[in-house]
């Protein structure tokens, strides 16, 4: 366990090796996107249309989604590990490859959690945002969301092996999923044409959007947790099996 903790620590240091200054552009962009997004939802929700969510709930939803964006839809180094040569590093160490991926990812979250999430959480009252979860089941749901995120990410990594390192293609598909199917940008319940009834059962809806709906109290925790657990039970064995079969097909040319 200590080895994995050290791996996380290394990943955290790697992000800040060049100095905190180099993280600033990303932080500024995040802040500059979050604030207009809050006002966008204020403008939209001021129409008074009943969508099963109040304005304050929607703003909390958006705020928490942005603050915890790394956890809402997990993205590990596996996305570009073949072209960037990370793969060679992972296989060269006496540790589980998937275990290292998890450690590296969690360690990589720390700088943003410290430099963006924490200050913005402290500043949340200025924006009139409540960061108190409607249910403490949110934390269990967040854990299941992260766990499912890792499983889905491993499946995407296997897809990139299958598609001969087409990282660009994979990243574009992921972006599409984040934008529409995960519910982190728009709550699934907001989708028109009856999409919300179908889409809420797919695995991507059990990522960030599911946890956020518990956070703001628009979903029954039991139903959400049940779905998240079911998808974890289905996708983790599938991810491990596919990963085991894909390993021999890995080709790395980067570094």
């Amino acid at each position: 366990m200590v080895k994995y903790f050290k791996t996380s620590h290394m990943a955290c240091l790697e992000k800040t090796n060049g100095g905190i200054l180099y993280l600033m552009p990303d932080i500024i962009i995040k802040v500059c996107t979050l604030i207009p997004l809050i006002f966008l939802w204020q403008v939209v929700m001021s129409t008074g249309l009943d969508v099963g969510m109040s304005m304050s709930q929607m703003i909390s939803y958006t705020y928490v989604s942005t603050l915890l964006s790394d956890m809402m839809v997990v993205k590990t180094a596996a996305s570009g590990w073949l072209s960037e040569g990370i793969l060679m590093r992972l296989y060269g160490r006496p540790l589980s490859v998937l275990g290292q991926l998890v450690s590296l990812t969690i360690g990589g979250w720390v700088p943003m959690l410290t430099l963006f999430t924490l200050p913005m959480a402290i500043l949340s009252p200025i924006f009139g945002v409540s960061l108190r979860p409607a249910s403490h089941w949110f934390f269990i749901s967040l854990f299941l969301c992260i766990s499912l995120g890792f499983a889905i990410d491993i499946l995407f990594a296997c897809l990139s092996i299958k598609l001969r390192n087409m990282n660009w293609l994979i990243s574009r598909i992921r972006a599409a999923i984040v934008a529409l199917l995960s519910g982190t940008v728009i709550p699934i319940s907001f989708l028109p044409f009856g999409f919300e009834k179908i889409l809420k059962y797919q695995p991507f809806a059990c990522l960030g959007g599911a946890s956020l709906s518990i956070f703001v109290g628009i979903a029954e925790p039991a139903n959400v947790l049940f779905l998240q657990t079911v998808w974890n039970i289905i996708l983790w064995p599938a991810a491990l099996l596919v990963f085991k079969k894909s390993q021999e097909g890995m080709v790395s040319y980067g570094g």
Binding site: V44, M45, L49, R172, A176, A179, I186
Partner: protein
């Protein structure tokens, strides 16, 4: 005569890039088609998320659903042109600078400008978003019953060009940092372009002035689709001049030109430190 020769040469360079793109499509058709499809799906999902909100709420901040569709069409066309002409990292220029690849361009018997202008042209695999954008534009024009004149089409082209100038100039402006800090600033153009992409699809109508103003000046995301779309619809926002995007494009292009040239001068004297003598990247 010299101008005519230069134009002819530029066209032939575009043709070479197009040929290379076609070769990829023919040689690796399955993956090339998958990449085209993924590109189209990704962009459609980004713009459709805003459109779906507008549809569900009957518009956004005074903009009707069809006006939002028009704005999304504009945004998709801009994305399309970006991909069409920028597939070779020639707009994400910090990657080329940061990786020390500018050296490769110096060895070519062509000006750097000509190479950067033509090297990213991919009409066969990179045109899907542009085509989708044009289709969305036609649908929105039909739904909005817009009266199309030659002047309006010319204005559309001018606005799209000015948006492209702003995107490219901003990318080159921030990418100049990569001349001085190649490792740290290698991906700075991605932050400037891709990081703000979502923000550029937000309709700013109805938002307070203190949000709109910085998004038209400091961080010009309002000029990527919202402002020019409203100008084209005859509803220029915030009492600004309809020529504002053009003026902004000119100023940022001049600033980028000056800063980039200074960085380039520094680079040709100092070189790149990204590679060890044995060829490994630092």
């Amino acid at each position: 005569m010299e101008v005519k020769k230069a134009i002819k040469r530029t066209i032939s360079l575009f043709a070479i890039s197009a040929k290379l793109d076609l070769v990829w499509l023919l040689r690796d058709t399955k993956f090339a088609l998958a990449a085209i499809l993924a590109d189209a799906i990704s962009n459609i999902s980004v713009v459709s998320s805003v459109y779906l909100i507008a549809f569900r709420f009957g518009g956004i901040g005074g903009m009707s659903v069809d006006e939002v569709l028009f704005m999304m069409a504009y945004s998709t066309i801009v994305t399309g042109i970006f991909i069409l002409f920028g597939s070779g990292n020639n707009i994400h220029i910090s990657r080329i600078i940061g990786r020390g690849q500018l050296e490769h361009s110096f060895m070519q018997p062509l000006t750097l400008r000509a190479q950067l202008l033509t090297s990213g042209f991919s009409p066969f695999t990179g045109s899907s978003n542009f085509i989708i954008g044009c289709a969305l534009l036609l649908i929105s024009i039909y739904k909005l019953h817009l009266r199309i004149t030659i002047w309006w089409i010319l204005l559309l082209v001018i606005y799209i060009l000015s948006t492209m100038v702003i995107i490219i100039a901003r990318s080159y402006l921030v990418s100049s940092a990569a001349f001085y800090a190649p490792v740290a600033a290698e991906e700075i153009s991605s932050t400037a372009i891709d990081g703000t992409w979502q923000l550029s699809t937000f309709p700013l109508s109805g938002m307070p002035y203190f949000i709109q103003l910085p998004l038209l000046t400091i961080l010009p995301e309002g000029l990527m689709a919202w402002f020019p779309s409203l100008c084209l619809l005859g509803k220029t926002p915030m009492n600004f001049s309809e020529y504002y995007p053009l003026i902004y494009a000119l100023i940022i292009a001049l600033a980028a030109n000056y800063i980039f040239r200074r960085g380039l001068n520094y680079y040709v004297k100092k070189g790149s430190n990204r590679y060890t003598p044995r060829g490994f990247r630092r």
